[in-house]
């Protein structure tokens, strides 16, 4: 394994860890989505890296493009839900989401 691959994998892992850390650390709904986006960056990197490794970069790029489209739509839906929640609750605090208990 060459050094660049090692650094790429490390960077991807660090981004995922940053995302997970952010996910459990925040009360803010928007920041939760930012955390997920951070993790998705790492996944993008991993996908291109895998194409780079096995020489099938063209295929890897098509994956990345499809994935980016999906990512955007998820972000838009999430933002829409957050804005609607803000209109109901007056804030974007996860501690306010207590209507569902069992």
């Amino acid at each position: 394994m060459n050094i660049v691959s090692a650094i790429i994998l490390t960077a991807a892992l660090l981004m995922i860890i940053a995302g997970m850390f952010c996910l459990v650390r925040t009360y803010n709904l928007i920041r939760i989505i930012i955390a997920i986006e951070l993790a998705m960056k790492a996944i993008t990197l991993l996908l291109v890296f895998s194409g780079w490794v096995n020489g099938n970069l063209a295929l890897a790029q098509t994956f990345v493009i499809t994935m980016i489209v999906l990512e955007v739509i998820v972000a838009v839906v999430a933002a829409g839900i957050i804005v609607s929640l803000y209109r109901k609750n007056g804030n974007v605090d996860i501690r306010e989401l207590t209507n569902l208990k069992g």
């Binding site: 986006e37 098509t62 499809t66 990512e71 955007v72 933002a79």
Partner: protein
Amino acid sequence: MQQFFIVLCLVLMVLAGGAAVMFRSMLKSSISLAVASALLAAVLFLMGAYWASIFELSVCSGLITVVFVSAVSLTNTDRCSEVRVREHKARVAVLPAILIFAGAALLFILFNSDFNIVASATPASFSAFKEALWSLRQADILGQIIVILAGTFAVIVLFKERDNI
């Protein structure tokens, strides 16, 4: 040289990602995310994935940032982002330790696996990319069409319709 730039961009990207986590202000967080995304685009470009890089730059670091910034401004929550430090001191200390430990274990596993690298850093030709996209990935293109439809309906439901409750 190229490898040096890849590494440099990666380091900067991780730093920007960390900044996105650490900033108190939501606006600054979103912009850090955009920067991380742009740096990722640079990495992808250097690795030879040109089209992925263009998409990453325009869509992720452009469009998604717009979405986040609008969400932040629509909800006026730029400043009220509180952090869970006060209530769960113990948990906040333990968690990074677990994460870093898990990460180290994963890295160890990955470094011990032997990647048979075939063609590192050979940029894909446009024709190969076109072939891959249009004839191999028909299902994904159909999926993209459907997901854009879904996004449209989502916007209609979530933004356009006035709620009557």
